[in-house]
Symmetry: C2
Subunit: 342 residues, 2 copies
DNA sequence: CCGTTCCATGTAATCGATTTCATCCTTGGC
DNA sequence: GCCAAGGATGAAATCGATTACATGGAACGG
């Protein structure tokens, strides 16, 4: 079974022959073990002349370490996850690992498919920003002994460390911010079907508002069908049709916020004059909208870095704790000028 | 060297024992070769009971096929490339391949690093959307016999098929569009240091304008230092400071367009009233800006799909041609209303 | 000067699959 | 009833590395 391109990859045996030593010696030189200066030189010369590069597949088989990490991401076209992936990739590479990306596209079956593939590839560890809640393969992944770390989203039955942002402080600040600006009828747009993340953001927001005597009644809690822009738009439309429409809206995902903005603009409503708008996830684009959007910024790059470090602790046999990094409020102009409320 | 987690991965030998057959038979059953119905059942039962999954590393070593493709992308946080990566990932997965992503971050050295890693991993094929022009590792990649396809960007000395979009038609349409709207002083913002892509877009735009008797003098050709938002903003500022500032600007990359928009807004200039703005790459966000931006849309998903198909042809030993897919103009409101010019 | 130690190196086992080749059994034709 | 053919199966080679173990020579202490 000849390799298609007529590949002329040299192997360790070629190097050994050329240098007049055994393959063991070559291996030792390349891995910085014993050999004496003179032999070492001959081997390195042979390596250079032949352009030899060790076959990682063979090495992985023998050592049971592939040097690759897997990342399952819920949606590659969502800028929040993109930035997360970018950070993870960066951290992984700087530690000598490469990254196999699986895009679950918010579909649990596809996610399972990918987890299976990655396990078959014997990646050294797996990072999962899970789509949906229940996932059969996730339990199988922990059962297989492959180090696993959850990213951004927890999964109820899964016993693995989770790295994510804590919205408590930011949502508390946000409630105060809105209260100070005189907003009395807040609303929230959350992800479909009671995901842990969405539920948590809702509860935190609600109790934070309550501290200022502001209610968040159920009719102003809009659940989208998808996590996309169209879902956000539809829900915003419903909210605006209420007898008492909201004067402030928090969208718990950036794509949904985009849809919400479109609906506001389509109705000729102004931000922040008619409705204040706040978005979860501070993706760069929101700094350039008109007006710039007040956002709850998750420490995306830190999350990515922390996730990789946590995962590598697992790989080395330790059992690290979950990581919670604080999100923070980034006030811009989409809720109104602060001084206008003083 | 025990696997850290105390992994209990079963191997083909376990299955063979349990089914009371040889490993060869197990392998044959799993690969759909000869065995008779009854043996087959016993093997499959054993596989099921043990939860056996073949070790892809071992399989790859033996068959010299890893079932993985590599994708080197210039900038993972650029939405155009994200969509491209998403499309590639989709196409690859649907054909049974998984995707290892390398993020070059527009740095040639990092790109080389990644190509090396991917070659060491013996990926079955490599897609490269190259950062910069000269790349030593790229030649080494072709030399190694690894199938290679260039994506979106050509690279002068490299003899490999290239899949990209052809801006000719779109830029011709754009020139007509601008001429019809009475714009007489166009400008262009291009990538730094005369990249093949930037040069080509500039030349096409210039000749298309010439057909309408409109000149694109060198002082209205702004080259950025980086491909990022800040570069775009700086160049836009320089253009506006010209004695004869442009009345229409084409930004040849979406991040640069974003910077350009910010500069316009900061100066209180209105789009399209004061300056028309056109962006290369129709990323979803530009549909939601105010006003929605006229864009040159590359067939991103088709490019991704075509790239994977072309690459797999190489993998199967053929020598496919380069692919050129037409980009098209998507007129929105950022150049002014069409009827206003009639 | 001999025996122990240690170091560089080679030989061969190993990782977990696929695949060639040999073997055995069944089947069928004459 | 015998021989050829063919199908199912097993034993063993193989992919390309790492590494445990064996070996041989140099250095060194007593």
């Amino acid at each position: 079974m000849e390799r298609a391109g007529g590949g002329l990859m040299t192997n360790i045996k070629d190097v050994a022959e050329r240098a007049g030593v055994s393959v063991a010696t070559v291996s030792r030189v390349l891995n910085g073990r014993s050999p004496v200066a003179e032999t070492r030189e001959r081997v390195l010369a042979a390596v250079r002349e032949l352009g030899y590069r060790p076959n990682n597949v063979a090495r992985a088989l023998r050592t049971a370490r592939t040097g690759a990490l897997g990342l399952i991401i819920s949606d590659l076209t969502n800028p929040f996850f993109t930035e997360l992936a970018d950070a993870v990739e960066d951290a992984a590479r700087s530690l000598g690992y490469s990254l196999v990306i699986g895009n679950a596209g918010e579909r649990p079956d596809q996610q399972d498919d990918y987890i299976r593939t990655l396990l078959d590839r014997r990646i050294d560890g797996l990072l999962v920003s899970s789509a949906g809640t229940g996932s059969a393969m996730l339990s199988e992944a922990v059962a297989s002994g492959t180090p696993l770390v959850l990213l951004d989203r927890t999964v109820p039955g899964i016993d693995a460390p989770c790295v994510r942002a804590d919205g408590h402080g930011a949502l508390t600040d946000l409630a105060a911010h809105l209260a100070a600006l005189g907003r009395r009828r807040p609303a929230i747009i959350v992800a479909p079907g009671g995901t842990p993340t969405g539920d948590e953001r809702l509860e935190l927001f609600r109790t934070a508002l309550a501290a200022h005597g502001i209610a968040l009644p159920d009719e102003r809690v809009g659940a989208t069908l998808d996590l996309q822009h169209t879902g956000g738009r539809r829900v915003m439309s419903d909210l605006l049709d209420l007898p008492e429409p909201p004067d402030a809206v928090l969208a718990t995902d950036n794509l949904m916020a985009l849809g919400a903005m479109d609906e506001l603009r389509a109705r000729g409503l102004r931000v922040p004059d008619d409705v204040a708008l706040v978005v979860y996830d501070d993706v760069p684009w929101f700094r350039h909208t008109d007006p710039p959007l007040t956002a709850i910024a998750q420490p995306t790059r830190d999350l990515g870095r922390a996730a990789v470090h946590t995962l590598l602790e697992c790989v080395e046999g330790r059992r690290p704790d979950s990581v919670l990094l604080p999100a923070r409020l980034v006030p811009r102009r989409s809720c109104g000028e602060s001084r206008a409320a003083d």
